[in-house]
Symmetry: C2
Subunit: 386 residues, 2 copies
Amino acid sequence: MWEKQILLLPGPTPVPERVLRAMGRPAVNHRGPDFKAVLQEVTRGLKDVFQTGNDVLVLTSSGTGAMEAAVVNFLSPGDKALVLSVGQFGDRFKKICKTYGIEVIAPEFAWGTAVAPHKVEEVLTADTSHEIKAVLVQHNETSTGVLNDIASISRARGDHPALMIVDAISGLAAAPLKTDAWGLDVVVAGSQKAFMLPPGLAMISVGPRAWERAVNNKSPKYYFDLQAARDNLTQSQTPYTPAVSLFMGLLESLKMIQEEGQNECLSRHVFYRDVVRAGVKALGLELLAPDTIASPAVTAVRVPPGFKAGDISRPLRDKYQVIVAGGQGKLKEEIFRIGHLGYVQLTDLLAALSALELVMQDLNLPVRPGAGVAAAQQVILAGRSG
Amino acid sequence: MWEKQILLLPGPTPVPERVLRAMGRPAVNHRGPDFKAVLQEVTRGLKDVFQTGNDVLVLTSSGTGAMEAAVVNFLSPGDKALVLSVGQFGDRFKKICKTYGIEVIAPEFAWGTAVAPHKVEEVLTADTSHEIKAVLVQHNETSTGVLNDIASISRARGDHPALMIVDAISGLAAAPLKTDAWGLDVVVAGSQKAFMLPPGLAMISVGPRAWERAVNNKSPKYYFDLQAARDNLTQSQTPYTPAVSLFMGLLESLKMIQEEGQNECLSRHVFYRDVVRAGVKALGLELLAPDTIASPAVTAVRVPPGFKAGDISRPLRDKYQVIVAGGQGKLKEEIFRIGHLGYVQLTDLLAALSALELVMQDLNLPVRPGAGVAAAQQVILAGRSG
């Protein structure tokens, strides 16, 4: 226990030393001026990352709490919602909606594929009486490593007044997302992803069209009441005691993102994705998602026939301290997932690919030692010269 | 900003260096064996502190989230609940119940007084058809510094089958609470109080009678669904990503409580309360709660006539870096509150009393310099010899 690990999960990601130090500051009064200043600066920084002039609220919960908030503040029992699920987290939106008596319309998309925007257009065009109150979709589907084309999906609504509610928990700051330019009414994010923080905070942006719907909303809510959060934020406060130490860390990680530059941060994620995909392909392993929709945050790799996810991930962990994730839901044993978001470095990826080669050799899988690492190096050298 | 402060709030409390260091450990996989071991050990430690064999679940939220969980898992819309409020947090239970369509029966108790157990007996005895499904009450009412007699209130139920739901957020490990011996079906706690952690985790114990009610419960819930939490805990997991770094801190702070000894920890809180109360009384200030029901976690002091809470708390903070809380709700300006729970030391209290004397002199309030500190010293010396 407590060995030095290479953490390559689709979140939580490693936490930078300077963020850990910021979190280790002495406690402050969450109702005093120090914390107010922190909350104001955090909110400003988040608006930059969300690319929005909308309100951005920070909740003390995991990302799922903010997904619930996105449902219970803007949809009422009996409302219809178009839920575009391409994996585990899309299915979670369905479950939350059903829990609160919201009628779910959910066209089928295979896991490993992306949402087809024309399907959205089809459904919404047919909904001439505007019974569908919102479109719910993942930006990056963590369970399959698929990036949805949120701009096109949002545009596919045409004149239909459905709110656009986007779960960008694992995608924000790893893949482009323009809240205002793309007309996204509600966007959800989480601390333990590209923000490089431990889990425990969730962020949610809310635009004017969504706030209008919140006024007469009939879903019960207390802890996740976003109007209470907004009212408190005008006093630079939160309605309930916030996770102060994580806010301190967030302030620091936002500085790091600003120092790196948002475009550079996004490019890095794409670059790392390409490094991982090239390496994995060169080992003869199959990738779940095609290149065109491949996530810059996480890469899902098919487990070779005759094996289960744990046959790969367990020796990676136990022999080489490389931590990757298995699959989720119906792909639990079929894939393993390499996270490359947040505070990850090239050397982490090279070491992980090398460890993967070793594990494959142990399992007597056909692999040319060094092939994965060599392919990754090619991408790195091309990237440097490019 | 970031001056060395003496934090004397009714939570968050100062965080011990070793807890900060534990929180600063590198991230681990929340689905891997390291975290499973942490969750198991934390759960064992919490059961000791709760004094229970019941399930104890840890939620990633502030304490209010667990208060909501205590309502939505065990009470259904249309149910009646006896809410015993003696302050701001009792009123919060009322609001949460009303949000979920639960009918609230709430006898009046003045702020600064404790719940009268005979009132509970009266109401429940009259409820011959057992329409009241639960009694909700604060162990320690943070807003007024009053400790309720939970054992007697629980006993006052007699044969009535109402569940006993206790908010012990600011009281657990500061004042005695025996979950099983007192027959408490649900008990809620929070990380930022006597557990000496930053905010962000809430704990909730659930006994068999409560679990029975959960089965056919009709209140909608997703993030706060405790049956999902219990099912996941059998696999040493949480249903949604937990605030890993706070769990690491909790593991350490539970060790500290164990090292100190639970009885010693409780005695310390009573001792510190007596030190503060003696000091404040000697300054001629009036205490809100009488000695018999005075909280070992926080002491509410009446602001002298003609002044507001901020007239005391602001100079304490700005001139002397002593952080106390103002009042809440209808006592917002009438009282200020000195927290003495969690990671607080005698020297903190002596310095704070001395700073209070200085502020009173600045305000031209009648005070004999040194009188408060001298009275506190007497209690300390008596305590040492006792």
